[in-house]
């Protein structure tokens, strides 16, 4: 199987060459001399420049060409005599990962970048440029995520009202095992952004997931409603399933009516409801055979744990 890669590799696919290339390209005329090349490289502290004939790109002159010329002790000559002719160019709209591959395969230090339609040179790309571009982008994304987390964790402080509450609902389709649990994992992410204490998020996520799985497994679907206020989270899980005939019994560890196909999926230990009870500070179960079940759990989020 193909391994999957993480964020950095993803960026290399996502970013286009034009997003990281240098556009303020320093060039040299093909009839300039090698000593002029040396001055240009020194002045801009760069290791190579495209060689142009008017508007047309005709070659690349690099520090290696300069060294070769210096060590040959030949008299000063025109750059076009020493340059690399017909250099390989890359297109501005290609993904960065392609450029990286070409750097690796060719061993070249830089590529002129041309616009695909016109063939006009629009920039230059070096390995250093790639690193800088990727770092810039990573930093930007990191900051955005931080700012977002900061904003939400201050929502309650920033909003002025006598009573504040965030209300989020999720639909839980029955028997859809690809999506099963996604309401709880999405909610877990929201709770992190809201700046809720990690141990409380942990309990909420477990209780929420166990309840969600019961809806998926035993019913044709239902809803999950979260009410998040400054000191508590209330979660209501409603379904229109078969109901639980004896709630007290169902709360006993190990009690389960799960069929073999449920056990094959890794459920049916009869631990879900007891686990929810353990995680929630308050749990109410309202179930009517034939009409459905509603679980209401409360978890306190205040600094002083009000459940104690």
């Amino acid at each position: 199987m193909e391994p999957r890669y993480g964020k950095t590799q993803e960026l290399l696919y996502e970013l286009k060459i034009e997003q990281v290339m240098r556009t303020d390209v320093v060039t040299i005329a093909s009839d300039a001399t090698m000593s002029e090349l040396r001055e240009i490289l020194r002045e801009h502290s760069i290791s190579g420049v495209p060689v142009v004939d008017g508007d047309e790109l005709v070659g690349l002159a690099s520090i290696e060409d300069l060294i070769r010329w210096l060590s040959s002790r030949e008299p000063d000559c025109a750059v076009h005599e020493q340059m690399t002719r017909d250099p390989e160019c890359l297109h501005a709209d290609q993904p960065l990962v392609h450029a990286l591959r070409r750097f690796d395969e060719s061993g070249f230090g830089r590529f002129p970048i041309v616009e695909r339609a016109s063939g006009r040179m629009v920039g230059i790309l070096t390995k250093g440029g790639i690193i800088e571009g990727v770092l810039r982008k990573l930093e930007r994304e990191f900051k955005e995520e931080e700012i977002r987390a900061y904003r939400v964790s201050h929502i309650f402080e920033d909003l002025l009202a006598d009573y504040k509450e965030i209300y989020l609902t999720y639909n839980v389709p029955g028997k859809d095992f690809d999506r099963a649990g996604s309401a709880s994992t999405r909610m877990k992410r929201n709770l992190k952004r809201l700046g809720i204490r990690p141990d409380i998020i942990h309990r909420l996520a477990i209780a929420s997931y166990e309840a969600e799985m019961n809806v998926v497994i035993y019913t044709d679907g239902g809803t999950m409603e979260y009410r998040i206020s400054p000191h508590e989270v209330i979660l209501r899980v409603r379904d229109r399933g078969p109901g639980i005939s004896d709630v007290e019994e169902a709360l006993r560890p190990g009690w389960s009516t799960a069929e073999p196909w449920v056990r094959d999926l890794g459920f049916g230990a009869g631990m879900g409801l007891p686990n929810i009870k353990k995680c929630a500070d308050k749990l109410e179960i309202d179930s009517h055979p034939g009409r459905g079940t509603t679980l209401k759990m409360r978890i306190f989020t205040g600094e002083a744990d009000e459940a104690q």
Partner: protein, 123 residues
């Protein structure tokens, strides 16, 4: 031991995992095929070994905060599992080794179980 050492030790295939994830240390593990049994534990194991290969293994791991999942007996992982692994930043490995063998090797290298469930409820 580092996760990349776990990969080598178990002769595992990497279905998902970034370099920085693989450089992370793990010290605790648990083996189970029952999702609620995992979720009832007091401590969160860093590594989960299981014979199950379905999306629920990944969701359960995401909910519980498990770093890496090892599917034993060479069972295939599907696209959905990889997708969740990526989304939730969980390392996903498959090994041809059996559950018993995998646990034994990891134990011999110093990995220990996270504290299993207790019956006393939170008070």
């Amino acid at each position: 031991m580092k996760l990349k050492e776990v990969v080598e030790l178990l002769g595992a295939d990497l279905a998902f995992g970034t370099d920085s994830q693989l450089a992370e240390e793990v010290q605790t593990a648990a083996a189970s095929d029952l999702m609620s049994d995992i979720l009832a534990r007091v401590d969160v194991p860093e590594l989960l070994l299981t014979r199950l290969n379905n999306s629920q293994v990944m969701r359960t791991s995401a909910v519980f905060g498990i770093k890496a999942v090892v599917i034993v007996r060479g069972r295939a992982v599907d696209e959905k599992m990889i997708e969740i692994a990526q989304e939730e930043e969980i390392v996903l490995l498959t090994t041809p080794a059996s559950l018993f063998e995998s646990c034994g090797k990891l134990y011999a290298q110093g990995l220990r179980s996270a504290q299993p469930s207790t019956d006393s409820s939170r008070s």
